[in-house]
Amino acid sequence: MSLLEIDDLRVAFPSPNGPVNAVNGVSLEVDSGRTLAILGESGSGKSVTAQAVMGILDVPPATVSGSVRLQGRELLNLPRKQRERISGEEIGMVFQDAMAALNPVFTIGHQIMEVLRVRRGMSRADARRRAIELVDRVRIPAARDRLRDYPHQFSGGMRQRIMIALAISLEPDLLIADEPTTALDVTVQAQVMELLAEIQRDSGMGLLLITHDLGVVAEVADEVAVMYAGRIVERGTVEQIFAGPAHPYTEGLLASMPRVDRRDEQLYAIPGAPPNPARLPTGCPFHLRCPRATDECLVTLPPLHALPADRASACHHHEEVLGATQR
């Protein structure tokens, strides 16, 4: 049994023009001590998938179906109170925008201590001691003094650390990080990713990392799920995916990314733009942008084919892609 098991997750939002299917049958697993990265562009459904796991979607209006199990326990049909307790205590969350995620009118000490006092029933003194430990753990200098500061008194990187301190305050089994370093400068991004990896190593949490950044994925992920138009189009270990992608979308993404360690003469550009989730094309949602598309792709939605070595690709021509990308 994996720590987190998602089975055929579907999320739809109503709109005046009919439902917008943001997530269309996503299945994946995260093991303790491992990092699964969900890689996707805007509108791919990666953040909505994470929000469905965290239980922070507004239902209704959104509709959620399928199964989300944390340590074997189904979360989707739990009563609200219980769901909130599990989301709060067993799943830690880190978001892109720390300024929006932290309460601007309370000191960070207050915010961390509140969690500990409400959820753990700690005394004021114990909660303070633990809050200092946590702030120290995320490498913020002068932790004791900085508990008295408000979120706006910290830099972007420091606020991200505080959010990590809050996320790990109840020692969750699973940490979900949605674009945790996207708003940060590269030097600060490197610090924060290093910190997340170190905390994960020490605590053995499972990490579900949501990102659009291929570089970040290559640096920290163990497994990768590539999402496009609400579906997983490719799944495998990070080595498999970067050494020889099995889906034309992944293949295109890798070829379109300039690299800092060498100069390529010409970048491959995937034509067109990601589809609008409200108006998905027929057949394979990638066929309009795909150089390998055939008539079959226009009409038949490819299932996620299981491939050797425990990987998967939702492409009718996965053998051809693998043949071309594996050296």
Partner: protein, 329 residues
């Protein structure tokens, strides 16, 4: 020294200080030294990349280059003109020659105007460039040049386009008056990865066809490496290192450049265990009160007492560096 023939834009010791409101009324709170003495030459048809972290002054620099911001001191020279002293006819001529493409294609196009109106506007401001009857033909050419279909797109509004398409429209507008220089301020950072490559390729193709020079300002070091001929690294309002793309990336001489490059994630999981990463401590200091001497010394692992007292100048040459102890090239 007058600018030589192949230099289109010469930036001389450019400075921009913004006053800060103090806590006490009528008492100055000091100044933000956003740009603090930047000099470089831009040659005809080349791409100069400018990289740096948020707050290093790169956007203020961009705004000064096109005359949107008045510098505190220093000069931007284009041919015989000085951008910030020009008036009247001379200024209008300058504005035709130096254009800008902004980061956010969602806010840099007027939402209430069609693409036709947006693209005709440069010709209304500069009516002598092109006869009225030939303008629509010209904007169709422009759309074609940036890969949009004029017959489909001319009478639509910006909200009907995707981010990548809007950036193409912004580029078409910048090209309308045949400029010599386009300043691109983070032109691809709001775009999805798959679309980013399209716009980068477009900019490269346009340069090959039209010979326009770019100042390409971005925080993404990979994109800058790809597109630039030469690169300048900025830290707290100053250039710390400039050089040809290959020299600067493959043998950085300033510790900051080296740290910046090593922090960029590389999409190659096979090498991640071996990679040596220089982790800089902390964030860049505030530009209101930058450190004495070398501004990078508070985060530098090889700083000495000299660095605290003497500011290292940016030497001259092909690959100059502003450091007392440059790394071996």
């Amino acid at each position: 020294m007058p600018p030589s023939d192949d230099v289109v834009l010469r930036v001389e010791n450019l400075v921009k200080h913004f006053p800060v409101k103090g806590r006490i009324p009528f008492v100055s709170g000091g100044v933000v030294k956003a740009v603090d003495g930047v000099s470089f030459d831009l040659r005809r048809g080349e791409t100069l990349g400018v990289v740096g972290e948020s707050g290093c002054g790169k956007s203020t620099l961009a705004r000064m280059l096109v005359g949107l911001e008045q510098p505190t001191s220093g000069a931007v020279r284009f041919g015989k003109s000085v951008v910030h002293q020009a008036k009247g006819r001379e200024l209008r001529a300058l504005r035709r020659r130096i254009q800008i493409v902004l980061q956010d294609p969602y806010t840099s196009l007027n939402p209430r105007r069609t693409i036709r109106e947006i693209l005709l506007q440069p010709f209304e401001i500069h009516p002598d460039v092109l006869d009225r009857r030939r303008r629509v033909e010209r904007i169709k050419e422009l759309l074609d040049l940036v890969g949009l279909d004029a017959s489909l797109h001319l009478d639509r509004y910006p909200h009907q386009f995707s981010g990548g398409q809007r950036q193409r429209i912004g580029i078409a507008r910048a090209l309308a008056l045949n400029p010599d220089v386009i300043v691109c301020d983070e032109p691809v950072s709001a775009l999805d990865v798959s679309v980013q490559a399209q716009v980068v390729n477009l900019l490269e193709r346009l340069q090959d066809e039209l010979g326009v020079a770019y100042v390409f300002i971005a925080h993404d070091l990979s994109v800058v490496r790809h597109i630039s001929d030469r690169v300048a690294v900025m830290y707290l309002g100053k250039l710390v290192e400039t050089g040809p793309e290959i020299d600067l990336y493959d043998s950085p001489r300033h510790p900051y450049t080296s740290a910046l490059l090593s922090a960029v994630p590389v999409p190659d999981p096979a090498g991640r265990r071996q990679r040596q990463r220089i982790l800089l401590a902390g964030d860049p200091p505030s530009p209101v009160n930058p450190p004495s001497g070398c501004r990078f010394r508070t985060r530098c692992w090889q700083a000495t007492d000299t660095c605290a007292t003497t500011e290292p100048p940016l030497a001259t040459g092909a690959h100059p560096v502003a450091c007392h102890y440059p790394l071996a090239a």
